[in-house]
Subunit: 309 residues, 2 copies
């Protein structure tokens, strides 16, 4: 396959390196100021899936410099850069190109569909952990589950989807086809909305947040509001009720990650922007659209936004 | 008058010093571990109302050591110590004694009435600023308004109330009689609930909180919830609507205090307990009592409580 990976942070480096190593033609798209981070188009990966070093077929700031037809564009930029990145890739999206949204949070898939139509957009829920250890090198630290890949619209030919899944899976990144990927992504949104901003605001680990009555109450209110908002917006969740999810959350999700700080904690600490607008901020906007009040998510979102500046 | 001041922090030192200087018999009640802070029962005050140094008639940890009949007990302990202090003063409350509650927040007056009956309890709204500069010395930094003194129950003889007002006023602490002191105190509760916890959480001044859209939204939600809770609990506020108060808040209250950090900010910084339970925490409890949801106040309260530990 001919693949373009948009965004060469930890996630983009991982996808690009494994796909190149497996013999695909792989191009990277990054911001002009980051081009210097990738001498000779070299990337590398280390960690739980081994050490690999590759040379991409090109790394550009301007996608129109790619002359080959691209089969798959993998979007890995931060959520707040999604719209810019989507507009920027226009020159390389032709009638056979699929765009795979591999980002956190709500609004990335929706924006891609708005701009390119649902028949062009594949959704991936990525839940392995990677971090940049050198500007052109990522370390894969943990993998909670396969990359789940699917088409929420049902419009994309299933063979094409399976080919993408197979290409990624056989490159060394565990991946599987998931017809309910949209709900699976919302599972991650629930988890991130409950934990990330609170961990960042209070500088606390997931385990600390789950062990104290005060933060449990806030997280449960965040989750309950999301269930109301999802129902009003006909977003299919995989849980019958907030209570059912909350039970799963404390029993199964927190224990293995109890010692983790959320990425938002590191973002704020580094004075960087966070993905709050694709998480609790998106919940607030979905609530407004449906006339559902989301005061807890709103308060949390506002606190993070104040801290961001 | 024979006066006992319970709590010898910044506020207690101020009351005790001025009242003693004016010729009253004044006793101080403090915790056993603080007795050593007051050698020879000496207190002093400096700041905007001049420098004064006095020797009290006694400073004790055990009120029953006061042998004189006490006309007035002034309660100045932190809200979380109110109940303990009220129980402790029992030996010096006789049939002529009045208890003046001079503290921040909701629940102090109510607790005093619960324990001693409304005919025994005077309410004071204190809004001058003082801070401890030496263990036995306070500095008066600012005065926004007279100490307003009144009896929400209407049961106390007006002459007795006016005598208290006059005693305090003539001692050098500007004070006036206020029939609507309960509503006046709620004005301060509104102000403190909106600003204190946010300033403490975000380490921001009142001016910063008022200048940013995110924190304005949170503060306005805090205020709106308080108006709903007050109405449901038949608490008389001095403003027709939340909007009317919010307008006053930004226009008149914030500008002169724009550079201030709330006391709660200093409390958290020093690892001390805050008065959150007498502010937003009290709003949450009043809301629960009346079946009014207060998610914004609840979230804020929980965040502060997490930070306290």
């Amino acid at each position: 396959m001919n693949v373009a990976v948009v965004g060469l942070g930890a996630l983009g480096i991982a996808f690009a390196t494994f796909l190149k190593k497996a013999g695909n033609a792989v191009y990277g798209i990054t911001k002009p100021e980051y081009l210097k981070n990738f001498p000779e188009n070299r990337l590398c990966v280390k960690g739980i899936w081994g050490e690999h070093s590759v040379q991409l077929d090109g790394i550009y700031a301007d996608p129109s410099r790619i002359k080959e037809d691209i089969d798959l564009i993998i979007l890995t930029v931060k959520s707040y850069d999604t719209e810019t990145a989507l507009r920027q890739i226009k020159p390389i999206v032709d009638k056979n190109t699929l765009i795979m949204v591999a980002q956190n949070g709500y609004g990335n898939y929706e924006k891609a569909v708005e701009l390119y139509g649902s028949g062009k957009v594949v959704l991936a829920r990525v839940i392995f952990g990677s971090k940049v250890v050198k500007p052109n090198c990522a370390e894969i630290t943990v993998s909670a589950d396969d990359v789940r890949i699917g088409d929420p619209s049902g419009k994309i030919d299933r063979e094409k989807l399976l080919k993408i899944v197979n290409t990624i899976n056989s490159s060394g990144i565990p991946a599987s086809y998931s017809p309910d990927v949209y709900s699976v992504l919302w599972d991650k949104i629930l988890y991130n909305c409950a934990l990330n901003p609170l961990g960042a605001l209070l500088q606390a680990t997931y385990g600390q947040l789950a062990s104290r009555e005060e933060t449990r109450e806030i997280m449960e209110n965040v989750i309950k509001e999301i269930f109301q908002v999802a129902q009003a917006n006909r977003i299919p969740l995989r849980w019958k009720s907030a209570e059912e999810y909350i039970n799963h959350f404390y029993k199964n999700l927190i224990p293995p990650t109890a010692k983790h700080y959320p990425s938002m904690y590191y973002d704020l600490k580094a004075g960087k922007k966070t993905e709050i607008d694709a998480l609790n901020g998106a919940v607030v906007r979905l609530g407004e659209k449906a006339g559902i009040p989301t005061p807890t998510n709103q308060t949390i979102t506002n606190l993070i936004k104040f801290k961001e500046r």
